[in-house]
Amino acid sequence: MSGPDRKPRRRSWWNLLLLVPFIGTLWVPFYNTLAPEWHGIPFFYWYQFLMILIGALLTAIVYFATDR
């Protein structure tokens, strides 16, 4: 955190990464299937768990990239 920098910052291109979770979850045909299973867990379920991780990871990346 730098000092009292009051200049409005320009919107960053990094924020576009945050669209990935929206596309990945809102387009249901991507993941509404049983196969491929992972340790007996249907794709529908482990894919969405994976998206939680991806969403958090991308948010962290954008945080560090735009944290000035």
Binding site: L18, L26, N32, G40, P42, F44, Q48, I52, G55
Partner: protein, 529 residues
């Protein structure tokens, strides 16, 4: 079902512990509790770690822990929408809410309606925002009691009439007392205990229960395939797809418009706290996903065929699935811990919701319309009283009215809450929308959303929109929001052209980037000190 004394003792012990904690919390990072922003926002001093616990405790409520797995238990894949829902919340919060924090810190706003009042200079629009928040929050508080009621019943504590409701009343008196004396500091401190308990219970559950049932493959094999995934689109409709995606999106957009979320955001000590938490809170989404899977475990374990739980299921329906699963799978002492986690999980959000409702009433209705000359001390006193009134109201609601009413109202509340998005979220970026256009858009959104729910007898919020014989069944909140935005956008230039006064904007662009001066406490102390 006989009373499980071991579980009950553990439960009561943990409740006693958090009661003491709730009263001690008033002295934590001491502030003048006669000031509304100290009582109702804890002075805006919470760092990254406390905010993580607070928001986790605030957003993932007891009702969530009971209702989400209940939906999966009863209806399968659609109940899993809570996962994409909570995935989408955080990127949205990451981008939008630091702006709200900044402008609020700059101007001393403590509610979303405060911001709208300052931004658009229109008290009627601000009133609409405040009333929406109040009305949507009340049934939500009442529903927390349902979570509490279910676990108390699952320990075998039963009675008829007022005696049966006694445990609930005691829990709520405790809640009301520590909220009154300690303000937001109480739920913040208790949230740490609640979250730790929930994590322990859920991790134990997703390891131990599948081991008892023969592994995850066996659990999923016990569920009919048609329930495991959503119905695919056919020639006449989008099947289950539009419902699932619209529920996830609209719920995600609405969640941080709720007063209790705004309170959580504004109590943090900086923009970076919110941004960091957007990356860290998804841990709770993982937790929620695991909790959702408990619904399938309950099916595989056959809890609904266990005669011991027949009475519970006939009274609480699918909401009894998780309590029954815990009782069937865990030793008594751990059942006590698990139920205490859910019970305390009811008190934390209920406390924050009642504080948020009190802030709204006091700032945006009482001070704005009734007693504009009230002193700071009177303001804080008013808020404390209202937090009591709100909780007593919720208690009456649950004791004297059918539970269905609370569920239906909460469902409507979700639809209504989303209708403040144009004023609050678009308002954070632009002043081009006319306040009266926003107010009319809001009214159309509320009206159409309510009408859609009414055509479904208030039993569902999935409205089947038919276009040329093709059915798109989607969350009514999203349809209503589309109308709301369209009306606001079309009317804004018209009203400007007609020279309808558009109100004074007391904010400037730089306010939305304000970083805020670090508070001395923040530098001097570790997050939990």
């Amino acid at each position: 079902m006989a009373i499980d004394w071991v579980a009950l003792s553990v439960f009561i012990g943990l409740f006693g512990f958090i009661t003491i904690l709730g009263f001690v919390a008033g002295r934590w990072r001491r502030g003048d509790l006669d000031l509304l922003h100290e009582w109702g926002l804890a002075g805006g001093r919470f760092g990254t770690v406390v905010t993580w616990f607070l928001l986790g405790g605030d957003l993932y409520t007891a009702y969530t822990f009971i209702a989400v797995p209940a939906l999966v238990f009863g209806q399968g894949a659609i109940g899993f929408f809570g996962v994409p829902y909570t995935i989408l919340i955080y990127p949205f919060v990451f981008v939008v809410f630091p702006r709200l924090w900044s402008v609020a810190r700059r101007h001393g706003y403590i509610t979303a309606a405060d911001f709208v009042r300052g931004r658009f200079g229109n008290r009627w629009l601000a009133l609409a925002i405040a009333v929406t928040g109040l009305v949507a929050t009340m049934p939500y508080i009442a529903l927390q009691l349902v979570g509490l009621q279910v676990v108390i019943a699952a320990m075998g504590v039963e009675g008829t009439g007022l005696v049966g409701d006694l445990p609930l009343i005691i829990a709520f008196v405790i809640l009301a007392a520590f909220t009154y004396t300690s303000g937001l500091r109480a739920p913040a401190m208790i949230a740490v205990v609640k979250d730790v308990l929930i994590w322990v219970v859920v991790i134990a559950a997703v390891v131990l229960i599948p081991a008892q049932l023969g592994g995850y493959a066996k659990i999923f094999a016990a569920i009919p395939e048609s329930k495991l995934i959503l119905a695919p689109p056919d020639g006449n409709s989008l099947g289950g797809y539009s419902g699932y995606a619209s529920l996830a999106l609209a719920s995600a957009l609405a969640l941080f418009l709720y007063p209790h979320s705004v309170t959580g955001v504004l109590s943090s000590s900086g923009r970076h706290v919110i941004r960091r938490n957007a990356a860290m809170l998804p841990a709770y989404s993982f937790l929620l996903g695991m909790i959702a899977l408990l619904g399938y475990m309950a099916v595989a374990a056959g809890v609904d065929h266990n005669p011991e739980f027949a009475a519970g299921f006939s009274h609480y329906k699918a909401n009894f699935a998780v309590p029954a699963l815990f009782r069937q799978s865990f030793p008594s002492w751990f059942v006590g811990i698990a139920f205490a986690a859910i019970g305390i999980g009811a008190l934390v959000p209920a406390a924050i919701m009642s504080i948020a409702a009190a802030n709204l009433w006091t700032r945006n209705i009482y001070r704005e319309f009734i007693h504009s000359a009230c002193s700071l001390k009177q303001e804080a006193h008013m808020a404390k009283l209202v937090s009591l009134v709100v909780k007593v109201g919720a208690l009456f609601f649950i004791i004297f009215l059918p539970q269905e009413y609370a569920i239906q109202l909460q469902l409507l509340g979700g639809i209504w809450m989303l209708q403040i998005l144009p004023a609050v979220v678009f308002g954070l970026y632009t002043r081009r929308l006319h306040p009266w256009a926003l107010l009319i858009g809001w009214a159309i959104g509320i009206g159409s959303g309510t009408w859609m729910a009414a055509t479904l007898d208030f039993k569902s919020s999935m409205y089947p929109l038919v276009i040329h014989g093709f059915t798109i069944k989607a969350y009514a909140a999203l349809y209503a929001l589309s109308l709301n935005i369209a009306v606001s956008a079309i009317l804004s230039p018209v009203l400007t052209l007609l020279r309808v006064p558009s109100g004074q904007d007391e904010t400037v662009e730089a306010d939305y980037h304000e970083r805020g001066m670090p508070l001395p406490e923040e530098i001097a102390s570790a997050p939990l000190a």
